[in-house]
Subunit: 306 residues, 2 copies
């Protein structure tokens, strides 16, 4: 069991408002923090949320508009002031590397840790850990942009202790072998892992759209997400504006989520014109039965699929 | 009469807190806005204060630490989204020019207006308008840093209408000539401007320290300021830390203000360790009789000297 929760650090599009900061989403997974975008000023909500400047951390940038990437600079400075020592891994299109290298050259951050910048040059696997991976897919925005998925690998099936005891297997190393899928020999008898361990249990899948129009590739990419965070800059009466600027409406986000069989949809990246978002949620709920609107600092637990 | 007020857009040092954003000070003078520093996220308070994205505006940067300059990037983006048309003039040490040019090259701001970057290469005059000028002086910080003064030119003296009428001078063009210091001939008689116009009235002088240790040059530079905004990162028990990091204590700020015969001192740029600043103000008041602590969005009217 690894706890996973998603924390919205900024939910406004383009321009911050009194209530909403610029784009940033944090996934706290076990001891690690995985950030998607870092709009200007996101460190304020980062600090408010008490996420911790010194933990294992990766940052994925969807695209190089200022409201999605400029906040990394302030984060680097504050991390250094707090004496961060762990490496920081940052991923994005090649211009992100240029942005970071130029600014680290010009501004004296007094970095106390190593920044590893990873330039993404193609779709697919971006980062891989022991029990999850991050994938990217081209989005459809006014500049080169990526959507991301966090996919956990399957967890081992449930170990049937009762049955193992009935079979007379002693606790300890043999249990452990069976649990990790290995067949064993005990008292001259072959015991298969599958005799005492249930089928592998699927991990969780979370999608992050960044700024984009809905596309068929994204329907495929986000298929079966337990949780999908999709931009909904506009209400559907502003669809023409959404098309013109490379964004989505709440209705379009929900339609894509339904087509991709997404379990839960979170709307974010609202135009500053919307003081509140209930109309947008209503438009989305017309086509998807599990929709919520993100607010700054709202926290969403991500349970394992049933 | 030109109205002038100072608005604090960020009063925290280095790291933002729940209550304080990163360094930025606005002077609204007549129809113009003059900014000193633009720390990350300052546009949020800029928007809250309703200062207007499209007015005549200059930005002066004290030094190239991220918490003093990164906010310009977000400001450029929001101004563009709002369709600003007027040029924007930005002043700072040569690396500021590099910072802006590189970021404008890498990030697609979709600028709707012209950005004029002015590299400061020596102390003295930085910008001059019809009725005021901006001067700079080297500060003493961990990197190249400047302090600034806004100095209004003298205003014409008070025109004594009663006396002018007694002398039989008709209203109109002759009044205007006398008011602007010209002597006139009326009915064959020479009338001197000084007969009906009082002595020139001094304009206002405002000082902005940026990040610095107190120095003798700054005492001279800030002499007779009507208003001085001086950094006071620490209480005096942290003087060693202030010396080490190139900052000032509240007590040191007040001592400099007294030595420079400053009328009113505003403390700002507080370390995030201070949840409230009354102790710092108390330390400063021990040596200066007119001290206040700045808060985010506090507004200070700047009256003409008596």
């Amino acid at each position: 069991m690894t706890n996973m929760r998603l924390i919205f650090l900024g939910t406004s599009s383009a321009t911050p408002t009194a209530e909403r900061g610029l784009s940033s989403i944090a996934i706290a997974r076990g001891g690690e923090l995985i950030l998607f975008d870092a709009g200007e000023g996101m460190q304020r909500n980062f600090i408010k949320a008490g996420l911790g400047m010194n933990r294992k951390m990766k940052v994925f940038v969807t695209h190089m508009h200022a409201d999605h990437c400029v906040g990394i600079l302030g984060l680097l400075q504050t991390m250094s002031l707090q004496g961060r020592q762990a490496d920081l891994d940052i991923y994005g299109e090649p211009r992100l590397a240029e942005f970071l290298h130029e600014n680290m050259r010009i501004i004296n951050f007094g970095l106390t840790f190593k920044v590893n910048v990873h330039a993404i040059r193609s779709e697919g696997l971006v980062a891989k850990e022991r029990d999850y991976q991050i994938l990217c897919c081209r989005a459809n925005h006014s500049v080169l942009a990526y959507s991301y998925c966090l996919e956990e690998f399957d967890r081992p099936g449930i170990f049937d202790i009762k049955r193992a005891k009935e079979m007379g297997i002693p606790e300890g190393q043999l249990y452990s072998s069976l649990q990790t899928g290995k067949d064993i020999t005990y008292n001259g008898k072959i015991i298969r892992s599958s005799d005492v361990v249930g089928p592998p249990r699927p991990g969780r899948k979370i999608g992050i759209s960044g700024d984009t129009r809905p596309t068929d590739s994204l329907i495929a990419f986000f298929r079966n997400c337990d949780l999908l965070v999709f931009e909904s800059t506009y209400g559907h009466d502003k669809q023409a504006k959404a098309i013109e600027t490379g964004h989505s409406t709440a209705y379009e986000a929900a339609l894509l989520a339904r087509q991709a069989s997404v379990k839960k949809l979170l709307l974010t990246h609202f135009s500053a014109r919307y003081e509140e978002t209930s109309e947008l949620v209503k438009e989305a709920q017309a086509v998807h039965n599990n929709v919520e609107a993100a607010e700054d600092l709202s926290v969403v637990e991500v349970p394992y699929p049933q």
